[in-house]
Symmetry: C2
Subunit: 166 residues, 2 copies
DNA sequence: ATAACTTGCTAACGAACGTTAGGTTGTTTA
DNA sequence: TAAACAACCTAACGTTCGTTAGCAAGTTAT
């Protein structure tokens, strides 16, 4: 709290005019980011599109959220486990629900013959690992733009999932 | 320290008969795991093998280390940033050196026409993301064995990297 | 047999932490 | 114009934290 206050240019005790507790800050960051992720993925949801296209869009949506909120993303990804109950359980439920979007896309891809994956859950975990690792290296002024990141990640993952590429 | 002492069944103050400081525990975990990773990847290093085979072996080696040391891996991956100087800088140098093994494999793959990747560093970061995310979900008594994890991850990543599969 | 050592204990320490309480000052509202 | 409010301040609090110091008891070495 003192570090945060220093960054804000006020005293730590002053922060309590704006928030109830340190835990509330963590809750807000985590649940707000979760809302961002849900909002983004629901905005690109189109079950008429091919599974390939759906996955590309989901990846792109996720990358946009991460790269637009690099600091909140870092907190979200690294600190959620410090949430107290019942927020911790609630958070895990949200995460599972978000992951189910990806699982459904993979499932459709398998059903349509677009994808060939040995294990659906594993595929989703690996996709999300690639996505959620971005915050460890991405810099707004870095070489790769968010759209390029999404494109490259999609290309790398899809060509691995695509059945008999070419 | 009190949580750790409770797990050990002794008092927190007693731990200081065995270690110099809390920071020393973190250092030992981080640098010991780094040694494990280097040892494992150097043991499978074979520049005569195809880049594909080299990558499979590197992935397998990494997975073995992670799954043999699940708790240390979690500490290693999530807490390294709390290392104090000069250990923090030293650690980053080690990490970069370890990543260079993967970069070299990717580079050879590109040179030999085995791999087609838009960005070499990005490819390595994504590979390592898939590897280092394993600790978040892997359970020794889980459905997937380490060898299967390595195989699945290799299959998923390589078929994405392999130029014109089939 | 005794000294040295190891590994634990209790008690306590100084520092850091999250937060509360009361006050000040400027702003807004009645 | 005065009350209410907002947002900050200082001071302090109780708790938690990492760690030290001195001691006890069992083990090992001389």
């Amino acid at each position: 709290m003192r570090d945060l206050a220093n960054a804000l240019g006020i005293e730590a005790a002053s922060i309590y005019s704006h928030i109830r507790s340190k835990e509330e800050i963590l809750q807000r960051v985590c649940f707000r980011m979760a809302e961002e992720f849900f909002g983004a993925i629901e905005a690109v949801k189109d079950e008429n599109a091919s599974a390939t296209e759906q996955l590309k869009r989901a990846i792109s949506a996720h990358v946009q959220v991460l790269t637009r909120n690099t600091e909140a993303s870092a907190v979200f990804l690294q600190e959620w486990r410090h949430l107290s109950e019942p927020f911790h359980t609630e958070f895990l439920a949200l995460r599972d629900r978000y992951e189910s979007y990806f699982r459904e896309i993979i499932r459709q891809g398998i059903a349509k013959g677009e994808f060939q994956v040995p294990d659906e859950k594993f595929a989703v975990l690996t996709i999300l690992s690639g996505l959620n690792w971005i915050h460890t290296w991405y810099k707004p002024d870095g070489k790769m733009k968010p759209a390029e990141i999404a494109e490259n990640l999609s290309a790398m993952l899809l060509n691995g999932l695509k059945t008999n590429l070419n």
